[in-house]
């Protein structure tokens, strides 16, 4: 076949700038909201219902710090790659490489976990219709392939779709909240009978922090879309902060509904707590709404994860931290299409292992390492480029309090993780040390060092 090759050596192709704050809200909340439908409730098993509520608000504080810091830095470093690009400009290549790996692993594993749960949900529905032991893998596969196909074909449709299904999942929580008549305690909700203090004392609350991260894990993914926003300086802070407010409301309502309907011993090990809570009410409309919303929240999370993982991988490759072939942009759809395609078999193979708890733990730990970096990054950013030295779309208040608080809260969550998953924590640390050695000794020689710093900033203070 003879094909005409279109040469355009002097022209640049770029990702399409079409996103607005609602897309950023849909991306951030979409990744996270699945945590309200499942996952957060394991914190109840560690600290009881009250312990879980304390974890919800303390970890909410951690993520508020993350959102504030991210909004300020990303409104200045508006490029795909998010925290990776921030690390590259503010700290250095080795940190940037590690941060990008955290991002790719956290999002790809979360995507695989979402697809696994999607398959399991359909298997359960088939079971309710009398079809036992239906293979969930084709549904998990379809979930990944459909969303990857959507991501391949364009970011606008992908994130508009995410906004719609995420908004439905959020509104569903509010509808069920009003459906359980919170103004009449003791009629549907029975908090007084079901909540019995702290079953494992204060150490239980600390242990609950690890699963408390499920309420918000992934909101920082908004900044991956910075290069595709019409105005990153406006869209990222607005989308991220409104997303964080949405999540605090959704998390508190979720806890209130579930802890008033289900005993903490059951809630602590339930797979789909919100759907189970709807079933306890015997209301058909609430069960239907909760089931559809659970499926939608799963799809939204997987969709956002594909978007973010591909942008992080694309940025790494564009800077030659990884083979540059993945740094290509589709000439028609203007998406990082090779990165989207490359990550599909990885996500599918992880999903098919069916090791859901291990996948989730690895995803949480990768995220946590990223947040720890952000506190250090923020301190250095303000020191090298003080206020007034460069244009910032958003300036977060009370610096350095959020950065210090973020670091201390991350340290506490490491301790919480060590209590329950010490060996996984050590394994992931070993993995990143080996990856860092590989990068320093082998890969760094391919990096174009002169092209690393792309922002039009003045020379940093002290250099």
């Amino acid at each position: 076949m003879s094909a005409q090759v279109i040469e355009a050596p002097k022209q640049h192709i770029s990702l399409k700038k079409v996103l607005s704050p609602i897309h950023i809200w849909g991306l951030g909340v979409g990744i996270v909201l699945v945590g309200e439908y499942m996952g957060w409730n394991f914190s109840v098993a560690k600290g009881g219902a009250l312990g879980s509520l304390i974890a919800c608000w303390v970890i909410g504080l951690l993520y508020t710090c993350v959102a504030m810091i991210d909004s300020e830095v990303t409104s200045t470093v508006a490029a795909a790659g998010g925290q990776y690009t921030q690390a590259k400009h503010i700290i250095g290549p080795l940190m940037a490489f590690n941060v990008a790996l955290y991002l790719v692993l956290a999002y790809t594993m979360l995507e695989a976990a979402d697809a696994t749960v999607f398959g399991d949900l359909l298997q359960e529905v088939a079971g309710n219709f009398g079809v036992a032991n239906l293979d969930p893998r084709p549904f998990a596969f379809l979930c990944i392939m459909f969303l990857a196909w959507l991501n391949y074909r364009g970011v606008f449709v992908t994130l508009t779709f995410n906004f719609v299904i995420t908004a439905f999942a959020f509104v569903a929580i509010i509808l069920v909240f009003f459906g359980v008549a919170p103004w009449s305690p003791g009629v549907v909700l029975h908090h007084a009978d079901l909540i019995h203090g702290l079953p494992y004392g204060w150490i239980g609350i600390i242990a609950a922090f690890q699963f408390g991260m499920w309420y918000y894990l992934g909101i920082e993914g908004t900044c991956q879309a910075a290069e595709e926003c019409r105005s990153a300086a406006r869209s990222i802070p607005l989308g991220t902060m409104s997303g964080m407010i949405t999540l605090v409301i959704a998390a508190s309502l979720t806890w209130y509904i579930c802890s008033g309907l289900l005993p903490w011993e059951y809630l602590g090990q339930a797979t789909t707590p919100l759907y189970d809570a709807a079933r306890v009410t015997n209301s058909t409309w609430m069960q239907v709404v909760m089931f559809v919303a659970t499926v939608f929240s799963n799809l939204a999370s997987a969709n956002g994860c594909i978007n973010d993982a591909s942008r992080a991988w694309f940025s790494l490759s564009r800077d030659r931290y990884m083979p540059p072939v993945f740094g290509a942009v589709h000439p028609r759809y203007r998406t990082p299409y090779r990165s989207v395609l490359f990550l599909i078999p990885i996500a599918v193979s992880i999903a098919f292992t069916n090791l859901l708890d291990q996948i989730i733990t690895f995803s949480i730990l990768s995220g946590l390492l990223g947040y720890t970096f952000m506190s250090i990054n923020m301190m250095r950013f303000r020191r090298l480029w003080p206020l007034g030295s460069i244009h910032r779309g958003y300036i977060h208040p009370f610096h350095p309090l959020p950065a210090v608080m973020l670091f201390l809260l991350c340290t506490t969550v490491y301790f919480a993780t060590y209590l329950g998953y010490g060996s996984q924590l050590l394994a992931i640390m070993a993995f990143f040390i080996i990856a860092s050695l590989w990068f320093s000794l082998h890969r760094y020689k391919f990096v174009k060092r002169g092209d690393q710093f792309t922002m039009p900033w003045p020379r940093p203070k002290g250099y």
Binding site: M1, A3, Q4, V5, I6, E7, A8, P9, Q11, H12, I13, S14, L15, K17, A78, A79, A80, T85, A126, F129, V131, L134, D135, P138, F139, F141, L142, I144, M145, F146, A148, W149, Y152, E227, S315, R318, P324, V325, G327, A328, V329, H330, P331, R332, R334, Y337, R338, V340, L341, I344, T454, M455, P456
Partner: protein, 55 residues
């Protein structure tokens, strides 16, 4: 063959079709466009003009 078995088989088939379409499209783009153009994206680079975008 019941509904769920058909749904299951259809899921495999549609997934494989989408994978084949993406691989074909990737191959087609590689044939039609110069590699240096596809990889010319730069951090902070301005939008491509409408003429190139529509190709």
């Amino acid at each position: 063959m019941g509904f769920w078995q058909i749904f299951s088989d259809l899921s495999w088939a549609v997934s494989v079709l989408m994978a084949v379409w993406m691989i074909y499209d990737t191959w087609r783009v590689q044939q039609e466009y110069d590699e240096s153009f596809l990889m010319s994206s730069r951090e902070g680079a301005e939008e491509l003009t409408a003429k190139e975008t529509d190709k």
